[in-house]
């Protein structure tokens, strides 16, 4: 983390951001730089609701960062500000050194929603192709030049043999795999995931977590992963940003000092429990 006067004391106190500190030391700018961002909804006629306040956070290139917080802590809002779906009311966000809008227009951002949001009339493979078929002529030409092979992506997410299946013929986990393949088809440098496994059962979710880590290793994208599951955040991440509710504030960030290769058994180790306990302490400490 870059030294910033006036950044959240809680964040500093948690000893945050060694991964991005290392990146900064190596002279690489962060993939995402969030500086004192606030988001308020409503206003004028209705009383404004503050969803996010004073959030300062850097995400390093190729980092896997989880944003952990209870409902109403503005996790999804933060993700949408990065993706240029919601404007920040105050503060600034830089994505890959430019504005979020520029990053979106350059197809540098992949987004995975809580529910897969597949188009039900399209087969799995045609859903993956969707990003290559929309946008202006320029965007499509850019996509045509540099995109991943949709079929290879379906193989990557383990659905090579279900390419022609309609979404209703697929299970919830499979749909979410298709959604991940779709998000990756433009070879985004940043992958934003909004509780993508929240609607899945525990067993499927753990399998999907392992898959996601494998995909992250293979594609080398920066991942920002929103979740309200402490275990999921610890298992997946290199770093966890903890948000507290109403208004959403950054309670701090936690470095996950676990080996880069995460086996399922890691969940039963003391080191895992220790990181989870720190995350829990931050969550509840901030909820006063």
């Amino acid at each position: 983390m870059r030294a910033r006067p006036g950044s959240e004391p809680a964040a500093a106190g948690a000893g945050a951001g060694e991964a991005s500190a290392a990146a900064a030391a190596a002279g690489r700018p962060p993939a995402i730089a969030i500086d004192d961002v606030a988001v308020a909804f409503g206003g004028r006629r209705r009383a404004a609701v503050t969803a996010l306040e004073g959030v300062t956070l850097d995400v390093g290139e190729r980092e896997f960062l989880s944003v952990l917080g209870p409902s109403g802590s503005g996790k999804s809002t933060l993700l949408r500000v990065i993706a240029d779906l919601i404007p920040a009311t105050a503060g600034s966000v830089a994505v890959l050194g430019g504005t979020p809008a520029a990053a979106r227009a350059a197809r540098a951002i992949g987004f995975v929603f809580q529910h897969a949001e597949l188009l039900p009339w399209r087969s799995a493979i045609d859903n993956v192709r969707l990003p290559l078929q929309v946008g202006g002529r320029r965007a499509r030409a850019a996509a045509a030049g540099d995109h991943a092979d949709p079929r290879a992506l379906l193989e990557l997410v383990g659905l090579g043999d279900r390419a022609d299946a309609r979404p209703r013929e697929l299970s919830g986990g499979m749909r979410q795999r298709v959604a991940i393949a779709r998000a990756l088809v433009t070879r985004p440098r940043i992958l934003l995931m909004d509780e993508p496994f929240g609607a899945l059962d525990e067993i499927t979710r753990e399998a999907m977590n392992r898959e996601l880590l494998r995909i992250w290793e293979e594609t080398g994208t920066t991942v920002v992963f929103v979740t309200h599951s402490i275990a999921e955040a610890v298992f997946l991440s290199q770093r966890i940003a903890v948000l507290t509710a109403a208004p959403g504030r950054l309670a701090g960030t936690i470095d996950v000092d676990l080996p880069r290769e995460r086996r399922p058994e890691i969940r039963d180790t003391p080191a895992f429990a220790e990181v989870a306990a720190r995350a829990r302490a931050l969550l509840h400490g901030g909820a006063r």
Partner: protein
């Protein structure tokens, strides 16, 4: 669509139940007319109606043709217009707020009151019948098409925005498909109401058509012919309905049954 043996058996079973229902209805009709000795010019027995259906078949067919033309033309015009208006509404809420009350007003006008006005304006030919049939189909399709075009979730809109998709992309790649199930359910309603519209319009002033035949048969106490005309009109509407349903099954393949 799946055409395996078990589906076929189930279909035949349903067909048998439907046929026995119709047969039971005819039997009841016969029994009531015979037991209560109802005068044939009030309610004719089924065999009289059957004789009229076969004996006056060419008359019925000659009069079905103009009605069918009016109904189909009205159906096409009304639905195309409704979808076009729906597209405008979806893209401009201001226009929707301004014009939707007008559409509701037109819908609430009683058909039997509008028909004479249109005959006065357009004469005794096909035009007023087609317009009435079109008016009958316009409103249900308009309401359903607007709902259908809007039947995409906020997250789908976000998805298209993340992909920097244009409004045209959203329309052609999401809204059109999302609207199809809604559109077909209104087309099914419209298919029968277009026939009703054409027939009612013929009552006001026509020299051919099923509506003309109904009026004529009534005034001449040809009650069996009146019943036969009703049956032909209903069969024609049923055929249109079934046709729309068949096309729906071929087109909308992604909906859960």
């Amino acid at each position: 669509m799946r055409w395996d043996a078990s589906a076929l058996r189930a279909g035949l079973g349903r067909g048998a139940i439907a046929v026995s229902g119709i047969a039971g209805g005819i039997a009841l009709w016969w029994a009531v007319v015979t037991v209560f000795d109802v005068a044939p010019y009030v309610v004719p027995p089924p065999d009289d109606v059957w004789r009229s259906l076969t004996g006056d078949f060419s008359t019925l067919l000659d009069n079905l043709w103009p009605t069918a033309q009016e109904a189909l033309l009205g159906f096409a015009i009304g639905n195309v217009l409704a979808v076009a208006i729906a597209i405008v509404f979806v893209h401009s809420r201001t226009i929707e707020r301004g014009l939707f009350p007008v559409a509701v007003f037109v819908q609430t006008l009683p058909l039997v009151a509008v028909a004479p006005v249109l005959v006065l304006m357009f004469g005794n030919g096909m035009a007023p019948k087609v317009i009435i049939a079109a008016l009958m189909t316009l409103f249900p399709t308009l309401v359903n098409a607007v709902r259908g075009f809007d039947a995409i979730g906020p997250q789908t809109l976000e998805l298209f925005r993340v992909l920097s998709a244009s409004k045209a992309d959203v329309f052609w790649k999401a809204r059109t498909f999302a609207s199809l199930p809604f559109l077909f359910s209104s087309l099914k309603i419209a298919s029968t109401s277009a026939v009703i519209g054409a027939i009612v319009a013929e009552w006001i002033g026509a020299d051919e058509g099923l509506g003309y035949l109904i009026i004529n048969a009534t005034y001449n106490f040809q009650t069996p012919l009146l019943y036969a005309t009703m049956i032909v009109a209903s069969l024609f509407a049923l055929l249109l309905f079934a046709l729309v349903g068949l096309i729906e099954r071929l087109v909308v393949t992604w909906e859960d049954d």
